[in-house]
Amino acid sequence: MIKFLTQFGRYFLLLKKVFSKPEKPSIYYKQTVRELIFLGVNSIGIIAIISFFMGAVITLQTAYNTENPIYPKYLIGLGCRDSMILEFSSTIAALILAGKVGSSIASEIGTMRVTEQIDALEIMGVNSASFLILPKMIATLLFNPFLTIIAIIVGIFGGWIAGTFSGVLTSENFIYGIQYEFIPYYIVYSLIKTVFFAFIITSVSSFQGYFVEGGSLEVGRASTKAVVYSSVLILLFNVILTQLLLS
């Protein structure tokens, strides 16, 4: 328990350092642009591929589970749309990003720690926590909502392709379904969750990397911990946010 509280305290002290005034905003701006490309743009591919197939599978599974003629066919499109918006685009995509982005952040910062690059920054008088973590945090907070939108669009497109090409429903039925009883707030709900999850992924992974002690083995362990802890926290906050935002 004491260990947990100590870690909890260190996490918040790190955040305090991260959010202190930047030494030179122009340098931070350049770093943020670099991170936008590295953590954001480079994640578009994996998010698009997984969303496409997830949308396709959701459509096919919904179709095979609603074969009863009592259910209208357009419900398949509606099921695909709501699954993508409410859960997949934010939560499942966040879990995927925790694996890709989280491990990358923890190993990058962890390697900098064990090779004394962070010490070199500190010796120069640079606030290393802020310099290394803040641009990553800003980049993910700004870009992950775009990834969510991409996941929704590509996922629904995947559902349409799978549904129409497999013949489980017509294109008209699917398009009617994705327009049926659309609630715009679901998009807002999804984007709010995404922002929270982006913060969790970046801060938890950075924390794990920043306090690594030892060598390459410990960097690997920190990377694994970053993914596991981020994923657990994402699932926990998914429940909390859903209750707060949809009840």
Binding site: Q117, A120, I123, M124
Partner: protein, 250 residues
């Protein structure tokens, strides 16, 4: 001048440095020597503030460094340069960007002025035509030179070197030692070098502090070290067979 007074440091209840007091003189290469694990690196990192000390004082001229807040330390740190054991160059930056980094962070010079300064520093450490190489493309000796260039880019008043010639061949090690000594004189810096290399001690040791198991055992210069009464120091100095033969001859 850097002055350390009764410095103590422990990790998880284990004492690593016990009541160390020493003064490092300006314009000289001050050496901290001792066996591996004796506490040299911890002492150096405590002096620069990378380790919080348990008790004692670290003075930079008339400023009590270890009691300063981040902003206060930052001011003193702008006058520090440090060469780390593994060079600690930023992997994602080229040689030029590494040396330019402190200039970008702490000066408002124009881009041309920064590039001029970078080239001056790289020339000073004898690195040529390597501005666009990444650290992974450099040899161990070149990495150390680039790290020295980065350390001197802001004209520091204090230079700290942690095992500057570890992992280098004897000739490159001598060149790095000579470079550190030249720069110390050229910029009138207070230089502190951690080493266990006796060649370095005899080449550049103007003031030498010997540490064993976290305790300061001896202090002197390279002329005194061969005639010391300290048995622990003699065991260290005359550890290899060549040194033993030299001692027997004397």
């Amino acid at each position: 001048m850097i002055k350390v007074v009764n410095l103590c440091k422990s990790f998880n209840g284990k004492t690593v440095l016990d009541n160390i007091s020493v003064t490092f003189e300006p314009g000289k290469t001050n050496l901290i020597i001792g066996r591996s694990g004796s506490g040299k690196t911890v002492l150096l990192k405590s002096i620069v503030g990378l380790h919080e000390i348990d008790s004692g004082e670290v003075w930079y001229e008339n400023t009590l460094f270890n009691k300063l807040d981040f902003a206060g330390k930052k001011k003193i740190r702008s006058e520090m340069g440090m060469l780390f054991q593994g060079s600690a160059l930023f992997d994602s930056l080229t040689v030029e960007q590494n040396v330019r980094f402190p200039l970008d962070m702490f000066t408002d010079n124009s881009s041309e002025e920064k590039i001029e300064r970078v080239n001056f520093c790289l020339n000073r450490v004898d690195i040529k035509n390597s501005n666009n190489l990444f650290p992974s493309e450099l040899s161990g000796g070149m990495k150390k030179r680039v790290a020295i260039a980065r350390a001197i880019s802001l004209n520091p008043k204090y230079l700290f070197c942690d095992e500057p010639n570890s992992g280098l061949d004897p000739i490159t090690a001598i060149l790095i030692d000579a470079l550190i000594k030249e720069l110390t004189v050229e910029y009138s810096m207070t230089t502190i070098v951690n080493t266990h290399d006796m060649n370095s001690v005899m080449e550049i040791g103007e003031k030498i502090v010997f540490i064993s198991e976290g305790v300061k055992c001896w202090e002197g210069n390279k002329n005194d070290i061969l005639n010391s009464d300290c048995n622990t120091l003699n065991d260290f100095v005359f550890a290899n067979s060549l040194a033993k033969k030299l001692r027997a001859t004397k």
